[in-house]
Structures are given as C-alpha cells and as structure tokens.
C-alpha cells in the first residue's frame, strides 16, 4: 500500500517535473521503481516477453513492441519507471558536485566517500541546503 502511494506520488512528481523543470521531483529507489514495473506489467511480461530478461533493455523493448496489446497502466508505468531510474542515476552522480562546497566546509578531514556521507548527514546546516536535498534525491539518507 505504502509502495503504491509512493509510486503515485512519484508519478505526480514526475508530471510536475515535466511541466516545470525548475520544480523539485522526489526520486525513488531502484527497488521501488522495478517493484512498480513488476506489479503493473508483471502479467504482460509473462504473457508477451517469456524468456526475456530484465537486463539490456530487453523487457522495455518487448513491452514497447507489444504496445498495442499491453495494458494502458503498464504502458504508463513503464515510462515512469524508466524516468525514475534515470532520475535516481542523475541524482547520485550529481552528489559530488552539489556537495563539493559543504564537504570542503564541514567534512574536510574525512576520508572515504561513505564516511564523508555520514559526516554530511550529521551536519544540520548541510541538511537544510542543496546538498542535503541532493543526498535525499540520491536515496542516501
């Protein structure tokens, strides 16, 4: 139930993101993204994509090839899932750039990316700023 709500919220957030690129969108985890795919497209995958695997874009290609037959919910979900995976990826790779200043200021002597992250998560001023948001978007808090 929580998952469905999160996904619904994710879809709204994505729609909002598409309308105004300046507005914030909550990124969701890879696990939640593919859980939605399994829930909404699972029966179509088993029907039309037998023997095909999740990797290499094969499930996506298969569902797109059978676009006329797969359920409308699945078609919508597929687009959202692809978008949220890309969004999470972008959030994670922007972490170093967005947090550069805060790292220099609050966690200068800390070694190792994992330790830097724990250090940032403890600094209240970081949590309130852009870097804090970047950490949330990356799914690391």
């Amino acid at each position: 139930m929580t998952n469905r709500l999160a996904v619904f919220a994710g879809a709204i957030a994505l729609a909002a993101f598409a309308l105004t690129s300046a507005s914030r969108a909550d990124s969701i985890s890879y696990a939640d993204a593919v859980s939605t795919l399994a829930n909404d497209c699972g029966s179509d995958i088993k029907k039309y994509c037998k023997g095909l695997n999740l990797g290499g874009g094969r499930i996506q290609a298969c569902l797109e090839q059978h676009a006329g037959k797969v359920s409308p919910t699945c078609t919508m979900t597929l687009a959202n899932v692809i978008a949220s995976i890309k969004q999470r990826e972008a959030a994670q790779s922007s972490f170093a750039t967005v947090c550069k200043h805060d790292i220099a200021q609050y966690c200068k002597s800390v070694k190792g990316e994992g330790n830097v992250l724990s250090c940032l998560n403890k600094a209240t001023r970081v949590n309130e700023g852009q870097c804090g948001q970047a950490i949330i978007d990356a799914g690391w808090r």
Partner: protein
C-alpha cells in the same frame, strides 16, 4: 561466523515472507551494512580457478575445496531470486530483490567494492546442466545490474556452482539450496 548467522537470518526472512513483507525483511540499509563489513585479511579470490574447479567436480561437490572455502570468509548475504523454469529470465516478482541489490551497490559505503554473484541450484536434474544454468542465471543478474541499474561492469563478477554447494547437504533437493550468494570481493583496483 557472525556474517554467516546474519545471512541465514535474512534468508529465512525472505523465504517466509512474500510481496511487500519482503521489502520490510530485506532493505538496502541492511544490505549495505552486511556487505560493508570488511575483514582486513580478506583472502584474494581467483574466479577462473573457481569456475575450473566447479566444472571438474560436477556431481561431486565443491564444499571441501580450499578455493571455494575461501569464499565463506568474505562479507556476503544470500538472497532468493526466482527465474522462469529452465530459463535465464528473472520472474517479475523478483525484480524488487535485484533493485534492492542495485540500491545497495550504488551506496557510497559500497561503491568502491566489487561483487561476486554465485548462482546455486538444488539437486533436481542433471549436475552438468545445473552447473551451466546456474552460471547463465548468475550472469543474467550481473547483466541486469550493469545495464538496467547502471552498476559499472568492472565491479561485477558471476559464477554458477549448480548443485555442488548445498546449504542443506543432507537434503540435496531442498528448495533452500536454490539461492543466490552476493559476495564482497574487496576494493576495485
């Protein structure tokens, strides 16, 4: 030793629960914590040697081979990933588990490490076929991780050991012997 106990706990959680309950049993924070526990003296693993030994011992088991025993000393956990019958296609209901692994492997605490996926079957069917299928399935998991979930391919290794290393050696056909081991191999060079 502690690691092994924890892995077993996770597996039990996974086996008994399903659907959303599974997400509560296994989450990426647990994965990050379990896989991130690094012993300073972790042994180096020669994957080509493991593959060679598994093929040479199809039907005889690998549990007593020193190179395979080394794997037990590394940080790891066991997950269940369901596949279509006799196929490399991951069942949609197991997508979440692969996604959880991806979330964990992208975490800064684990981003410097490389991982080995070991595929296991139970003893139903031909030992050589099981060895081959488990290798293809383990490879399917690392392929999904490196494409759909953008984990760098140089951090991922896969091998299949078929039915040669059962969790429950007294019952080689037990369902719990079918499993996937995810092992931290140490720093990416």
């Amino acid at each position: 030793m502690k690691n092994i106990g924890f892995s077993a706990l996770l597996t039990i959680g996974l086996t008994l629960s399903s659907g959303q309950a599974l997400a509560q049993e296994l989450n990426d924070t647990q994965l990050v914590r379990t896989l991130g526990r690094i012993e300073s003296a972790a042994p180096a693993i020669d994957i080509a040697l493991l593959v060679e030994e598994a093929s040479a011992n199809a039907g005889k088991g690998v549990a007593n081979l020193p190179n395979w025993q080394k794997l037990s000393k590394l940080s790891q956990l066991i997950v269940e990933i369901e596949f279509e019958n006799d196929s490399v296609a991951i069942e949609p209901k197991s997508y979440r588990t692969v996604g959880l692994i991806a979330d964990a492997l992208h975490h800064p605490n684990l981003r410097r490490y490389k991982f080995l996926v070991v595929g296991h079957t139970n003893a139903t069917g031909d030992a050589n076929h099981n060895l081959e299928l488990s290798a293809q399935r383990a490879n399917a998991i690392t392929e999904a991780l490196s494409t759909t979930f953008a984990i760098k391919p140089d951090r991922l290794y896969s091998i299949g050991v078929g039915e040669e290393w059962p969790l429950d050696p007294a019952n080689p056909k037990a369902a719990e012997n079918r499993r996937v081991q995810l092992i931290n191999l140490g720093l990416v060079k």
